[in-house]
Symmetry: C2
Subunit: 198 residues, 2 copies
Amino acid sequence: MAPLEFWYEFASTYSYPAAMEVEDRARQFGLEIEWRPFLLGPLFFEQSGWSDSPFNIYPAKGKYMWRDMERICDQAGLAFSRPAVFPQNGLLAARTALVGEEEGWIAPFTRAVYSANFSKGQDISEPSIIASLLGDVGADETAVLERAKSPEIKERLKHQTQAAMDKGLFGAPSFFVDGELFWGHDRMDAAIDWAKRH
Amino acid sequence: MAPLEFWYEFASTYSYPAAMEVEDRARQFGLEIEWRPFLLGPLFFEQSGWSDSPFNIYPAKGKYMWRDMERICDQAGLAFSRPAVFPQNGLLAARTALVGEEEGWIAPFTRAVYSANFSKGQDISEPSIIASLLGDVGADETAVLERAKSPEIKERLKHQTQAAMDKGLFGAPSFFVDGELFWGHDRMDAAIDWAKRH
């Protein structure tokens, strides 16, 4: 079976339920997940000229999204609280997640960041918050935050963001499997189904 | 149970599978459907300044949508052929559908227009095509096309388009049930589920 690439941006609302659910869902079918944090801002700017979330630029869409998130999280049994700042700056979290990929804790760290952002009202751009989440997943806070600032990690995030663009992504969450792109939390099952069949 | 309002634009790609499936799906649960054709163009322009489909304005999104439509229609067993012109002008079809609401054939006529647009490659802005579809649903072609041009029908479509905006719609298809908005073909089941529970 093809692996399931899960592409996500830490500021992205719909990426929250996807991040919380994807591992359990994929495990049912023995699928391997590749966790792919990236930055959506550069894609939005290059593809659409947006310097802000489209949910802020287009208020009707934004109003709908917040209500839709409430319904989705309610249905999924996920705590949800609209963040005071949206979108948050996910740069530090994304770099840190890449360190987690090297060290094997990217999945629980990713979930911890989304909970911080969309359930606990925490500022995920704040190093002290990220340090606390690192503690929760058993990582070495000081060493990891140092590594997250290294040129290698910065370069890898740039590279991964460019790779997202090259694969045709334009939003998050996205799933990429066997050459096929699926966009949105609501396409997670279709992506998993595709992975099972290819 | 609350009725299910089905809001659609004849040029809209994702409205095609929704229009083909909604009646069968709703019937399983004894739900009443209210068919609500409207024009998406005025909403796009007023809310976003768009004078064209976002799938044309944003190529990455458009490329994805066409592939996604192929997969969705394949899965649903619906014939699909990308129209030579996109978006088509759905004004005449929408006005005609409102006559169908008066006369009781809006559902089969709506499906016939979507098939013409997204499976048969026909020009749905062409009165001779609409006349032929009217013949297929057993309506009086000449009388209906005359009525479709009447001030009452023109006014009703304007009114319905304004009502869509007032309800917070920003895309098609949309479902409105018991004060809740659901956007997208992929929210049809959530909308039906909401209707069942309210």
